[in-house]
Symmetry: C2
Subunit: 296 residues, 2 copies
């Protein structure tokens, strides 16, 4: 196992433990809701967003105990969005991370409430009194996460995605959708992780934001490539759905080869954005490589 | 128009304007989502939670401009919950405030995203940098709102409510459900309004919290009484649904007369809790009367 793989495995384990600790116990009422919340969040996922938060926290020498809480707040937002996106009114998916989706394992009403309650829990965790020494910085973090989640962020991107089924989107529209749908929360992961530590000046924050913008877009390009290439068994979720639903993707617009080239360009851009930083940016570089070379 | 009616009308107008200002414009993409968000929130409702926040703000001489933002944050949480509760997987209601519900006027996927995005917007508004002078107090406000919304608050109450259809609930269970489902957000309205102004000592905060607990429970008792008595036309939403769905209510457990007596007892308790305060508690008293004597 490489040093990076060990770092990743250690932090994934830490995230799992922190999530388990933060989620309500199934022994507490309402027990079925709490059971379903834990089912939705625990035991799966590569925790890419938390890893980005930890890597950004290393850049600003942040206390990992603080980054951990910010990291799980972002992951809870991501988890809630998966639960709602899988529902029949949206993507109508029955499989997620190799398991039945929440509305299949429980029921639709529970899935709706699980998503709602996970979103609230994300903000409750990020609003723990004293989580960040500077309360004004904590308020800014809460504002960033809320903004990345809402109609000008993730939820808005999902709305554009839904409206695009069967419609010929042009490249700028596709990019706008993904900047909102996936990009906003990935950028928030990096920003929140960094804000847990020493303040960066505006130039450095700008570079870091450019890094996360590249990684966010690349993440989606790779998603489209994998969806076009992979089988359901490898992916742990229903594959080939985009083409079946006639959804525009980077692959449908650019073809497979150019989509792969684009992912590689974005990887280089992400690395370049970190050039001014020292060795403390190493994890962010490795994560960019990992996200773009992944096969899941 | 009495002085209190004028106060209420003025503040309802203020809340409507502030909500309109805070909601995304329909000219901004995604336009359909933004259109549906405005449809869900604007032009209806008595704004009981915002009024409670303003009244509590008067108790602590809070700047009304700040209370206004806290008040609309709470109202957005309430509005999101109505959109999701009305969906087919939950209460399957087609009428709300005399208009088609969001999933009927738009579609289910949009209704799901409207609720999600309204919840994010509530936290974004409450996390405006500088909203409260003391950022640590603002973090506590954010924590209170998140906690009141989640699985130990409103969403949890909704889960218990769903699980109770057709089941004989005893009085303590019914009360537990309502303390979460309606009570938590009503208490948060009062707490947030008060926290915008001068700090109260623990005793005063305890009294204020007892007031809002009584008002929250009374609110639900009156709701049950109205549902049992009123016609759909008066109520602006489908009436008699609770009995039709065999849901336990205060009326089904206590009968109409004893349910009305209970509401009156809670009104007296709410007034008594405010005895130690001066004339600046007047609006809170009047609101308790208004909530309990209402016919909507």
């Amino acid at each position: 196992m490489s040093d990076f793989q060990a770092w990743m495995a250690g932090h994934q384990e830490r995230v799992e433990a922190a999530l388990s600790n933060a989620l309500p116990l199934t022994s507490h009422a309402p027990t079925r809701l709490h059971d379903a919340m834990r089912y939705a969040v625990l035991g799966g996922g590569k925790r890419v967003r938390p890893l980005l938060a930890f890597a950004a926290g290393e850049l600003t020498q942040a206390d990992p105990a603080r980054v951990e809480q910010a990291a799980i707040a972002v992951e809870l937002i991501h988890a809630y969005s998966l639960v709602h996106d899988d529902m029949p009114a949206m993507d109508n998916d029955v499989l997620r991370r190799g398991k039945p989706t929440v509305h299949v394992e429980f029921d639709e009403a529970t899935a709706l409430l699980v998503g709602d309650a996970l979103q609230s829990l994300a903000f409750e965790i990020l609003a723990q009194p004293g989580l960040v020494e500077n309360a004004a910085a904590q308020v800014r973090m809460l504002n960033s996460l809320a903004s990345a989640s809402g109609s000008h962020g993730m939820a808005g991107g999902q709305a554009i995605d839904l409206a695009s089924v069967g419609k010929p989107l042009e490249m700028p529209e596709l990019e706008f959708m993904h900047i909102l749908k996936t990009g906003a929360l990935i950028r928030a992961s990096v920003t929140l992780g960094a804000l847990c530590g020493k303040a960066l000046d505006a130039t450095a924050m700008g570079k870091l934001d450019h890094y996360s913008k590249c990684v966010g877009l690349a993440f989606q390009v790779v998603d489209d490539v994998l969806d076009a290439e992979a089988s359901t068994a490898t992916l742990g979720k229903t594959a080939g759905k985009d083409a079946a639903q006639n959804k525009p993707t980077y692959v449908s617009l650019l073809g497979l080869t150019r989509a792969k080239d684009l992912a590689e360009e974005l990887r280089t851009d992400a690395h370049d954005a970190l050039l001014g930083f020292g060795p403390e940016a190493e994890r962010l570089k490795q994560l960019a490589d990992y996200i773009i070379n992944r096969d899941f």
